[in-house]
């Protein structure tokens, strides 16, 4: 496949390597948090608001909990939920977008107008309304982000499928008697996955930012959950103990940055314009 043959180019980019290493490191931390974390993330047995130092490298919070351990356990909250969120919005948005692009006018129009409406609302405000209406909890925050995240996939998938539908090999398949479903599955979808996966990679960062933002506002994870956004919010109350808010925020930043490094390089590798530029230089 075209995409796979271009991948090696992406891996030669230092940014992609850094992104992959950092993302992998976070996945390992999330998986092995019980083994790696020096303390129980919920135990309140350390001195309160101790500044970073030996024994508690990222300091402790106002309840005497070890921040490093909480961040490690927080990775088990934030990262799987974010990935789940992106997969769900890809599936929902992708399915809706593909049917809008491939099947009839009315279904397609309806779906796309709904997507436009969601787009016109600022994401945080809409997500906030949904989260508040459902009641503050992490699951509901995920649902809220889902409500605002699917239209991007629907729009991109629809555009790609529309372009693909008229291609000769798809038409000849249909003329040979492929059913609409088979044609969509065999001819169209494999050819549109690349750009959608790039969008999904870039979207992991956005989804994490939105999810932790909702938690920061008090509309997501509830205490004592070591969710990163909620941990930053806890740092607002103890302003002069800078470490309480700083380290969880850095955790969010590094995860988002890692996936954005990856997504950005992937996009460059898949973007025909950039590929052309690289080829021209090689000549």
């Amino acid at each position: 496949m075209r995409i796979l043959s271009r991948l090696p180019e992406a891996w030669r980019q230092p940014l992609a390597v850094v992104g992959a290493v950092v993302a992998l490191a976070w996945l390992v931390i999330a998986a092995a948090a019980p083994l790696l974390a020096p303390h129980d993330p919920l135990a309140q047995d350390l001195p309160r608001l101790a500044s970073p130092g030996p024994g508690h490298w990222f300091g402790t919070d106002q309840l005497g909990r070890d921040i490093l351990s909480r961040i490690m356990y927080g990775a088990r909250v934030s990262i799987p939920l974010t990935l789940l969120l992106v997969v769900l919005s890809l599936l929902i948005g992708g399915a809706l977008g593909a049917s809008a692009g491939y099947f009839g006018r009315w279904v397609g129009e309806g779906i796309m107008r709904l997507a436009d409406l969601v787009f016109a609302f600022p994401t945080v405000i809409l997500a906030m309304v949904v989260a508040a209406a459902l009641g503050a909890s992490l699951t509901n925050a995920v649902l809220a982000v889902l409500v605002v995240a699917w239209p991007a996939y629907a729009r991109v998938t629809r555009g790609l499928v529309l372009g693909m539908r008229e291609r000769e090999f798809v038409l000849s398949g249909r003329l040979l008697g492929f059913s609409a479903w088979r044609s969509l599955r065999v001819d169209v979808l494999p050819n549109v996955t690349g750009p959608i996966l790039v969008l999904a990679t870039l979207d992991i960062g956005t989804a994490l930012l939105l999810l932790s933002g909702l938690s920061f506002l008090g509309l997501g994870a509830k205490p004592p959950s070591p969710e990163w956004g909620a941990m930053v919010a806890a740092g607002v109350d103890v302003f002069d103990s800078w470490w309480v808010a700083t380290f969880p925020g850095l955790a969010i930043l590094t995860v988002v940055l890692a996936f954005n490094f990856l997504g950005d390089t992937l996009r460059d590798a898949l973007d025909p314009r950039t590929a052309r530029a690289i080829k021209e230089r090689a000549l």
């Binding site: 436009d116 949904v130 459902l134 506002l217 808010a245 969010i252 314009r273």
Partner: protein, 376 residues
């Protein structure tokens, strides 16, 4: 935001990249199709129609969303003791029309809307319009400041990155812009507040002006403009000072976004034949950059800038909460958490209106920048 360009025929406020984004170098920027009697009138009519539909859609979505779900504005607004008293609950329901069936509630709201009445806020017990008039200017100042900063910094960074492609400065700017896109706004706001206000004490604290100053006489509601109009220069400088850090924080994301887009837009134009021709006939680099390259590249750039304004408005919720600026983001937060339906719909309408307006400005700017758009 940074999605691959997909053909999308979107009337709703033109939230998709418009047809003038020229990917792959094609330059067909036609507006409209068959026989316009007066293109401008047709265009404006269409825009107004879209705006009305969008406003209708926004109220409908908010209304349906907040009513489908289990949350109840009564429990969100009344205290425990009041909730125990059926008379108070019934009175609250009657006062806000919550005792009527849903379609009737919605029609009542729409009826008021046509007369310019956005309903009463259940939280502040004031007309939503009054609330909005009080909170919107603070956000306009903040978002306006942020978009100016983003345009200046983002375009400058993007041009430098494109001109020095693949050199060290390009790589550094790439990392910087990706950091700008990746940083959690609420966290950056806290860090900036801590470092610049708490530690270094070079910026003022929260709010819109210093605590010992009173607000300038209200004309526009924009403290900077009002203070300047009244000649209160100490208030003016305090208001500007209070604006700088939050605006910079808010701009981080859009600077990153605009840097990336400007870079690719400028690269695209740099490869065009007419730029090569200009270079071949020996025009100085400055002239080529400003008159040939930047002017063409500006069309996709302002498209993205228009789209970025939406994410700026999202960011205001988080920034305003950290810097305690009484703006529409804070208001949206308070009304969302208390399920104050009229207030949430009011915010939605304002924001949707801003979308339509920004898109209109972007469309007009196309014509100003690129004469070919005007001619067609």
């Amino acid at each position: 935001m940074s999605q691959p360009s997909a053909p999308s025929d979107v009337p709703a406020g033109g939230t998709a990249p418009r047809r003038a984004t020229r990917m792959g170098g094609s330059r067909s920027t036609r507006m409209g199709g068959r026989g316009p009697r007066h293109p401008l009138a047709r265009f404006l009519l269409r825009r107004i129609g879209v705006a009305v539909l969008l406003g209708f859609g926004i109220t409908l979505v908010t209304f349906v969303l907040t009513n489908l779900v289990p949350g109840d504005p009564v429990t969100a607004n009344l205290g425990q003791r009041a909730l125990g008293d059926p008379a108070i609950v019934a009175q609250f329901r009657a006062e806000h029309g919550l005792d009527k069936p849903l379609p009737a509630q919605y029609l009542t709201y729409l009826g008021g809307l046509v007369r310019g009445d956005l309903g009463m806020s259940q939280q502040s017990h004031r007309p939503v319009l009054t609330d909005l008039a009080e909170f919107v200017p603070a956000t306009i100042e903040l978002a306006g400041g942020a978009i100016v900063i983003s345009l200046v910094a983002g375009v400058a960074f993007g041009v430098v990155a494109a001109l020095r492609r693949d050199r060290l400065s390009d790589q550094v700017l790439r990392v910087v812009s990706l950091i700008g896109i990746s940083v959690p706004t609420f966290w950056l706001a806290l860090v900036a507040f801590y470092v610049f206000f708490f530690r270094l004490q070079i910026t003022p604290g929260s709010g819109r002006v210093a605590p010992d100053m009173s607000a300038p006489p209200g004309v526009t509601g924009l403290y900077t403009v009002d203070a300047a109009l009244a000649g209160q220069w100490d208030v003016f400088s305090s208001a500007v000072g209070h604006l700088i850090t939050p605006a910079l924080v808010l701009a981080a994301y859009t600077i990153g976004l605009l840097t990336r887009f400007t870079r690719s837009a400028v690269l695209e134009v740099l490869g065009q034949d007419y730029v090569r021709a200009a270079r071949a006939k020996g025009l100085p680099g400055r002239v080529i950059l400003f008159r040939y390259v930047l002017r063409s590249a500006l069309v996709p750039i302002i498209t993205v800038a228009g789209l970025a304004f939406g994410s700026l408005l999202s960011g205001t919720v988080l920034v305003e909460s950290v810097f305690a600026r009484p703006g529409i983001g804070q208001y949206a937060y308070k009304s969302a958490t208390t399920l104050d339906l009229p207030a949430v719909m009011g915010v939605g309408l304002v924001v949707g209106g801003v979308y339509v307006l920004i898109n209109l400005v972007v469309d007009i700017l196309y014509g100003v920048i690129d004469p070919r758009v005007r001619l067609s």
